[in-house]
Amino acid sequence: MSGVGSTEPPRSGGGGSAGAEAGTAPEPRAERLLELADDELVLGWHESEWTGIAPTLEEDVAFSSIAQNEIGHARALYELAAADLDTDADALAFDREPGEYRCAPFVELRLLDWAHTIARRWLYEEADRVRIEALAADADAEVAGLAAKIDREEAYHRMHAELWHARLHDEPRFQAAVEQLWPYAVALLPEELRPELARRVSLDLPSNTLLQGKERGEHTPDLAELWDEMTSVRRSAPAGSQW
């Protein structure tokens, strides 16, 4: 297993907490949307890697649908951001360099082990719910409306995660995976939402040392590998190609 299994520090990234130097100006809407969209696209891509090889046929079906939903959320979020940035969703999804993506290292990890995969599913859904609930109460009606729609769909992902958590929560292998991934999951959220996540999953917030290399704005080597595959068709047949 690569990535989290070896707990190697990420190679690229600016170091430190991205956004700390953002000053007092409110973050533009497109920037906020891109964080969420990139998370959903990259995680959806990884979930889709289980199609055909999940441990059971039922999970094959489940992961295929979950991946499809996450990528669908990414598309809707990219479309909203694209309107602000005068571009289109495909350009945002596929035409940026790996370093320009705003996803968190948590979703970048290529997890080849089922216990880790389920641990990430569970932690991701818990964390995602915290931020989606916050977005659904946003003053921006378009953002709030889309977040509420996404939340309705994520409800089914949460049920799936809940079932697996109930099955595996006292298994040492699952517990070890949760422990390993927990700092990554925390770093998915902005600081003000982290205590709420910790409360919901009954885990203690990790120390700053443990968060090093896992914050948004930094990237793992796994992202470049994924990017290479994910954008290969687009790069071989750029925008405007006729099929």
Binding site: V61, Q68, N69, G72, A76, A155, Y156, L163
Partner: protein, 161 residues
Amino acid sequence: MVTEAEVWAALDEIPDPEIPVISLVDLGVVRSVDVRAGHVRIEFTPTFLGCPALETMRAAMEAKVAALGAEPEVAVIADDSWSTDKITPAGREKLREAGFAPPAPRETSAPRLVQLQSNAFRCPYCGSTETRLENIFGPTPCRSLRYCESCRQPFEQFKTI
């Protein structure tokens, strides 16, 4: 000049690409039709945002409007104002006849696992509520898999959104 009623009738001829027994109008995903001087604006919401049939449905609606001699505009409305409650009574009946259990009504909060595991879901073949959840997910994101203990038949349950 094309009328709103003609547009609705034309859209009602478009089958859902994944469940062709039901039309886009019966599925309730066509939100509104606005006709102005040969320009037809259709507002539309997919059941799930990741619906792979979205572009197919958009193209089919545009083609129908163009065939009526009007200029089409299809706007995708991606907010929470749509729910599976918008499926028409005729649409629910067609789903059931084709072996798809229509969705349960939407509640204020999103559905929970305990509800899906309850006996509130009726088998579309024999009508029994002795059915159990097999998989939250199914062949498309909008469906779950259930099994009827009474007639021993697996079936697809439309998800509530």
